[in-house]
């Protein structure tokens, strides 16, 4: 405000009272004083609108003239031309309209005076009297009409239930949390390759290998295939048996360095599958939780709180890898009553060292 030409001559305060400085100095635009400039601005606006018209015509022309094939390059060309012509069609109108308003339309400053917000005293008194009369008339403020009062309060109080009951009833769909505790794995289920479902032989899994595993028979399910897959996915890893620290109580859960863990992160359930062969670290792509596969998949970094559940495996007569049982704890993120009804796991994480976390 200090650079305002008018305010340099007009004091803002007189005897401590604020003085309305009035409107700033009106600076005419070039188009206001120079007819040539006005003519030029008019032409500029017309050219901008003309660009829009050309853009629209070009857009329609591209649409009809396109010879689009399956080739990515051809799709990219058509998309690019359509986008560019649509851009010109829109931006021409927009910039043209603004340029018109800025250079040619009236630019006189306008003042809208404020008026007092308060109503007159008579109006205020009348409004209060109306409310009082209404309350008196209804009988709600006296002991009359108790039946009407009671029924009204009841009606208003229970009306929201018409909306709330169906809402709450639909929430979550199924409240049976016991289905979280079980997956498709059971004794003797073969471990199969994701996605084709062929079973895996122990001899297929060479040291350093990672197999993405689904239970055999999952692909044959007719209902709930994705739900079952989401719970049952497993990562099968083989490392040098000397590098693998078997966890107390789980000594016979792996086979000659072949070990299987749930692929569902114990934090919020992302698929944990970024396996680093040399460090035996397993990384979750969502929040960087890192599990040490060589040490019971214990958490060495990130927000996850629990090790990944291990799937006990064995090898059957034909050499295929099979599950010994289902997981011994629910897979995936924590939820209420998670460990209800399960046998307590031996706490293994504390007894082993070797992870360079």
């Amino acid at each position: 405000m200090s650079t305002d030409e008018k305010q340099q001559t007009t004091p803002t305060h007189v005897d401590g009272e604020w003085v309305d400085p009035g409107l700033p100095y009106h600076r005419p635009r070039r188009a206001d004083v120079d007819p040539k400039a006005a003519k030029r601005a008019e032409r500029q606006v017309a050219v901008l609108f003309g660009i829009s018209i050309l853009g629209t015509i070009a857009s329609i022309a591209v649409y009809f003239a396109q010879d689009q094939t399956e080739e990515v390059a051809s799709i990219r060309l058509v998309n690019g031309l359509l986008g560019a012509s649509l851009f010109l069609a829109m931006i021409g109108i927009g910039i043209g309209a603004i340029h018109w308003a800025r250079t040619l339309m009236r630019d006189h400053e306008m003042i809208e005076e404020r008026h007092p917000m308060r109503s007159s005293d008579e109006g205020r008194a009348g409004a209060i009297q109306n409310l009082k009369d209404g309350a008196e008339d209804s009988g709600l403020t006296t002991s009359r009409r108790t039946l009407l009062k009671g029924s009204l309060i009841t009606a208003v109080a229970i009306a929201p239930l018409a909306v709330l009951v169906p809402q709450i009833g639909n929430m979550g769909g199924d409240w049976n949390v016991s289905q979280f505790r079980h997956t498709m794995w059971k004794k003797g289920t073969r471990l199969a390759r994701d996605p084709d479902g062929t079973p895996i032989k122990a001899s297929d899994v060479t040291i350093g290998s990672v197999f993405h595993v689904i239970p055999e028979g999952l692909n044959e399910l007719e209902h709930g295939k994705l739900e079952e897959k989401a719970k049952a996915i497993v990562l099968l890893i083989r490392m040098d048996p000397a590098a693998l620290n078997l966890q107390p109580g789980k000594e016979d859960w792996s086979f000659d360095g072949i070990i299987a863990y749930s692929k569902v992160c114990t934090h919020v359930g992302c698929p944990v599958a970024l396996y680093e062969q040399q460090t035996h670290h397993l990384l979750c792509p969502c929040h960087q939780s890192t599990f040490d596969v060589a040490n019971g998949a214990k958490v060495i970094f990130g927000p996850a709180k629990r090790p990944l559940p291990q799937l006990p495996i064995a090898v059957d007569d034909e050499g295929y890898i099979v599950a010994q049982s289902d997981f011994h704890e629910p897979v995936g993120p924590s939820y209420w009553d998670r460990l209800k009804g399960t046998t307590p796991e031996p706490t293994a994480a504390a007894s082993n060292e070797g992870a360079d976390a």
Binding site: P24, R102, K201, Q277
Partner: protein, 260 residues
């Protein structure tokens, strides 16, 4: 608003700023091209020449008999010709320096020398061989099948279209667009560095070729829009916040400014 209109800064400043950002962001994400490799049959002479090359260039870490050095370099007995062709052919070996991950660089040997080295290492113990040109020909593979296999086994580290991604503690999965088809095949076979092994029992040779076909398909580029390195929400968010928001601010200043 009057104050804003009367400030005599350059009105083109926001536009220039946005253009500079556009130029800087567009420049991100270009990589050098890889070198092709082909299979060849090794002779006794190749093995002898390879042994000389090995003694001169590799033995200081891997040992004179390629038995490895504890804590420094692994044994190369049984890694096969494929591992040598990948490691030396992508320039990862001889390693420039130790670090979280040995990185690809310009190959230090010509292909005939790489073949001799591979022949020597292959003579030490049985291991995966260098694939033939037919085994890695993307024209013979099915990109749609390859996509399914890639999505299950590779995408978590290398990204859904092979753009690469970060691992832990400075390690990363490289992008695969400039890697030669032979090297992609060999990497699956031998599992270099952090990468796990995907042997032929896990991903069949046909499916490996399908994966190569899928990755080769990505070289056609994106059908629309800027890929921004195809590394996901970080680059896209960066673009949205800086460029899109910058354009909105610039147009707001333009609309609000007074004409001269």
């Amino acid at each position: 608003m009057n104050a804003l209109a009367r400030r005599r800064y350059s009105k083109s400043a926001p536009v220039i700023l946005v253009l500079m950002l556009l130029a800087a962001l567009t420049a991100i994400g270009f990589a050098a091209s890889g070198s092709p490799a082909k299979a060849s049959t090794a002779t006794a002479n190749d093995v002898a020449e390879g042994q000389k090359l090995f003694a001169a260039n590799c033995a200081s870490c891997h040992g004179m008999d390629a038995q490895g050095t504890e804590g420094v370099a692994p044994s190369l007995i049984g890694v096969g010709a494929a591992a040598v062709n990948f490691q030396v052919g992508t320039g990862r070996m001889p390693a420039q320096q130790s670090g979280p991950q040995v990185q690809a660089k310009r190959p230090q040997f010509a292909q005939p020398q790489i073949d001799q080295l591979a022949a020597y290492v292959a003579s030490l113990g049985e291991g995966p061989a260098v694939p033939t040109a037919e085994m890695v020909d993307p024209a013979l593979g099915d990109p749609a099948v390859g996509m399914e296999i890639f999505r299950t086994n590779c995408a978590m580290c290398h990204g859904s279209i092979g753009g690469g991604g970060a691992l832990t503690q400075g390690k990363f999965a490289p992008n695969l667009w400039s890697t030669s088809n032979t090297h992609i095949f060999e990497a699956m076979l031998v599992g270099p560095q952090s990468m796990p092994v995907f042997n032929d029992a896990n991903i069949t040779p046909e499916n490996k070729r399908n994966i190569i076909a899928y990755l080769d398909f990505q070289k056609q580029g994106s059908p629309g829009g800027l890929p921004l390195g195809s590394i996901g929400p970080v680059a896209e968010g960066f673009w949205g916040w800086l460029v899109a928001l910058g354009l909105i601010i610039a147009s707001t200043v333009y609309v609000g400014a007074r004409a001269s």
